[in-house]
Subunit: 511 residues, 2 copies
């Protein structure tokens, strides 16, 4: 009973939402209503009816079938309907001309076999991808009209008149549709494609920033249960292929709108492809978020320690911010139909990438130390100490390259740390390093000995390769994101070139 | 001129290919031809024509429009057409009944406003997603029929007869369509969905194996230029969303085929979603292939040295083979409609994952050693030595856990190596380790000193973290692939449960 009472409420809410989401839908519905009424007048008003005749009803049918939401779709359908009717009419007339010569029975057989042949081949032709994409509706109308005229011609003996009348009324219907769609609040497929490109760019910008921020946020421990918790923003990008292609194919029917050129719908499709590829990387990046928490098939949970993440937090977030900024700038550029700000797109991004690169380069080297594994079994867990040391070392490598500086910083950091294994060693090493300093001139021979103390300190800064794996994947994907972004930028710039976007002026708003 | 001569050849080849790709298309075309001929007989044969009358032409139209490639699509369209006609007929009859009471002018106004109102609201309703998905065609037919009958009723005064005749002829047309589609070589959407699921599983199995093999192949130096060189196999998976959903919605119209239950089209859609998610990871994995070669934005090329890859080659290839095997087993299971072999799905896969895990765990730890950078500037390039040492250590960690064993193995391996830096140290360390052995009891105090020699040896096995990054990403994604595979397995098992697949018997062929 509750369900029943709720139902009308739900229906009315759905009903209203459809209009609120896109007010053009309401307008389109009114347009259809008006056109239908107009075309009905052909039949209802006495003088018009006498001009057109009984077949006025075909005009009504044409309006119902042809008038679509966007200009491109209407033009495409109208053209298909017109072409299909003309071709079918001609063919039917030709067949009627041949069949007319013969007697009644032979005529029936002839018509039936013509229907069979044309029906079979037209249906077969519809499977050809090129025809299916562009002229599917036209072939259906062709078949429909052909059968209608050919079959009727058996009993009605004024086929030419039928064909003519049908053609006229369809032409009237198409004319009304064209007028309404082109001049009364027109909706352009090209415009839709343009806007969807902008919103995809913005959506990706948002989701990549959110993704990286979430990765480095401290609250990452809250396990998210939903399996397919992918961000709907980029989900829309991934599944945009067929919608994009439909819009583009309709847009290709629309008349030129700018002074310069035809609407570059092909380039928009290319941008869409580049964006989808970008999106795949974002999905993988998003996957890292979950890998951190749950993955490894439930039998080995490898989580990169937070301290390691913290080490790379700034360059990563900075890079993500730059990527996001670049995407927003691209979105703005497309939205305002102007070329992109060259500085945003390359300088900052390169700078951020360089920073991350430096951070990664200055980072831990990989060593093998099979013994430490056993050692730590009866020692306190190795992570806190090792990671702080790592962090310290990272700071050190920025501050200066000389070992003494490194050691000092390490000591400072170790003091903040309550670890009881790391502390004594660091102190011992300081003295060892002083020894190293005094022996600095002794190059080749001394190297072996002088390396030893330095390394023993680093022994405790060990981290399992497997532990670093998820982060490495994250960083690597982030870098790949930039590479994919490069392709997106390329395609958008090409779009700007083809569509003759206006020049970028320094005064233009920059994100 | 050459183009012109080539054109007919191209056309005929395209024409033939369409039929060769899927012979059912040829059959479908013939089916349409036969049905059209049958329905034309209604008009052509004298006795039938007298029964049905002039409106026989509507039956022809119905066949052209309703007869679709698969059973589900035909049923869906036929139902929509029938429902739309009935509703529109009733409504038109009701309106005609009201309008009949009044005079001529008022009637015209009444009809026009009814057309406007119904036209507007029907068009608006088409935007509601639920309606758009299931009943779009029905609403169009409703609008068409309603307008046809209402407008005609103004001049023709036997509306009830028009409506009736139209209904009968449409029913005849639908009946012919149903008969042909259901009993003459039927094509089931559910079958298509089933087969596309199988081929997607197989395609992914192939592409993941190819991807991993290519990664570890020695010929990876051949740079592939094509930007979007994604494997078409999994590309098909990624873009399968709309096709899947269309097939599923048609499949939902098809009558039950198995003894137990309705066709579980919803579950197939879920499997499709899981496969797409799996596909995203494969794309990312494929991206690693390219990262290795060209990425990092053109300004820093980081390539994981081949030797490092070789180190993990076997477990990775093994894991990929197991993933591929599992996918093939799933494909076989779905194809033969039997439950999956439980051993393939878990045991081997887990074993392979465990192996990779062990390989990764036994592998280099991360250390920071800022000094080595400067050192190696005037030393021979660090890679060959370090990597052999790495490999040696890996073997060592498998062979035995005790430091002396490790050293021996390392020495053995170093002998195969022409490196002049690694050799002397290893020897020195052997003596150092003997010293370590004697001091073994001295736990807390001695640990510091005894670690030192061991580590100094490993100093030369250094590898930049950044260098390992691409491989880490690759390995991490491979592991994630397994996690995604788990979800695919889950969904396929659920599918098996819902669709009552037959039990797995040990005798069943196993991939």
């Amino acid at each position: 009973a509750k369900m029943i009472r709720k139902f009308p409420c739900l229906v009315s809410r759905t009903f209203c939402n459809v209009g609120r989401e896109d007010p053009r839908r309401m307008i389109h519905a009114l347009k259809v209503g008006v056109s239908l009424t107009l075309v009905s007048l052909l039949y209802l008003l006495e003088p018009l009816f006498h001009g057109v005749g009984q077949n006025a009803i075909w005009a009504v049918m044409t309006v119902v079938v042809v008038l679509e939401f966007t200009v491109g779709a209407t033009l495409c359908k109208g053209f298909n309907r017109g072409l299909g009717t003309i071709l079918a009419g001609s063919l039917a007339f030709f067949i009627d001309f041949i069949a007319n010569e013969s007697n009644h029975v032979f005529r029936a057989i002839f018509i039936a076999s013509a229907v069979f042949l044309i029906g079979t081949s037209a249906t077969y032709i519809r499977f050809i991808p090129y025809i299916k994409k562009n002229y599917d509706y036209g072939v259906v109308i062709f078949l429909l009209t052909f059968n209608l005229i050919t079959v009727s011609s058996y009993r009605v003996h004024s086929v030419l008149r039928i064909a003519q009348e049908r053609f006229y009324t369809i032409a009237i219907g198409c004319a009304i549709c064209l007028f309404v769609t082109l001049f009364v609040f027109p909706n352009w497929s090209g415009e839709d494609l343009h806007n969807s490109t902008v919103s995809k760019l913005e959506g990706l910008a948002k989701s990549i920033e959110a993704c990286v921020n979430e990765y480095f946020s401290d609250s990452s421990s809250e396990i998210r249960e939903d399996k397919w918790s992918d961000d709907p923003i980029y989900k829309a990008v991934l599944d945009s292929k067929s919608a994009d292609e439909t819009l583009a194919s309709y847009a290709s029917w629309e008349p030129r709108k700018s002074r310069y050129c035809k609407f570059p719908w092909k380039q928009y499709v290319k941008v869409g492809v580049a964006l989808r590829h970008f999106g795949y990387t974002v999905v993988a990046l998003h996957g890292c978020l979950r890998t951190e928490i749950q993955v490894n098939f439930g039998f080995t949970i490898i989580v990169t320690p937070k301290a390691v993440r913290a080490l790379f937090k700034d360059p990563c977030i900075c890079l993500a911010a730059e990527v996001s900024k670049a995407l927003k700038e691209l979105a703005n550029s497309v939205r305002n139909r102007r070329l992109c700000s060259p500085s945003i797109l390359s300088d900052h991004l390169h700078q951020a990438l360089q920073d991350l690169d430096t951070a990664l380069k200055s980072q831990p080297r990989l060593f093998l130390n099979p013994t430490t594994d056993q050692k730590h079994n009866h020692a306190p867990p190795p992570h806190p100490s090792s990671l702080l040391a790592l962090a310290a070392a990272a700071v050190a490598s920025k501050g200066g390259q000389k070992p003494p500086t490194t050691t000092t910083t390490t000591t400072n950091n170790s003091n903040n740390n309550s670890d009881n294994v790391a502390m004594p060693r660091t102190k011992t090493d300081t003295s060892a390093l002083l020894e190293w300093k005094s022996k600095k001139d002794n190059k080749e021979g001394g190297e072996r000995r002088m390396l030893r103390p330095q390394l023993s300190k680093i022994a405790i800064t060990s981290l399992e390769f497997a532990e670093a794996l998820p982060f490495a994947a994250f960083a690597s994907l982030l870098v790949e994101t930039v590479a994919r972004l490069d392709l997106v930028i390329e395609e958008v710039e090409e779009l700007g070139r083809i569509a003759h976007f206006k020049e970028f002026r320094p005064g233009d708003e920059v994100v």
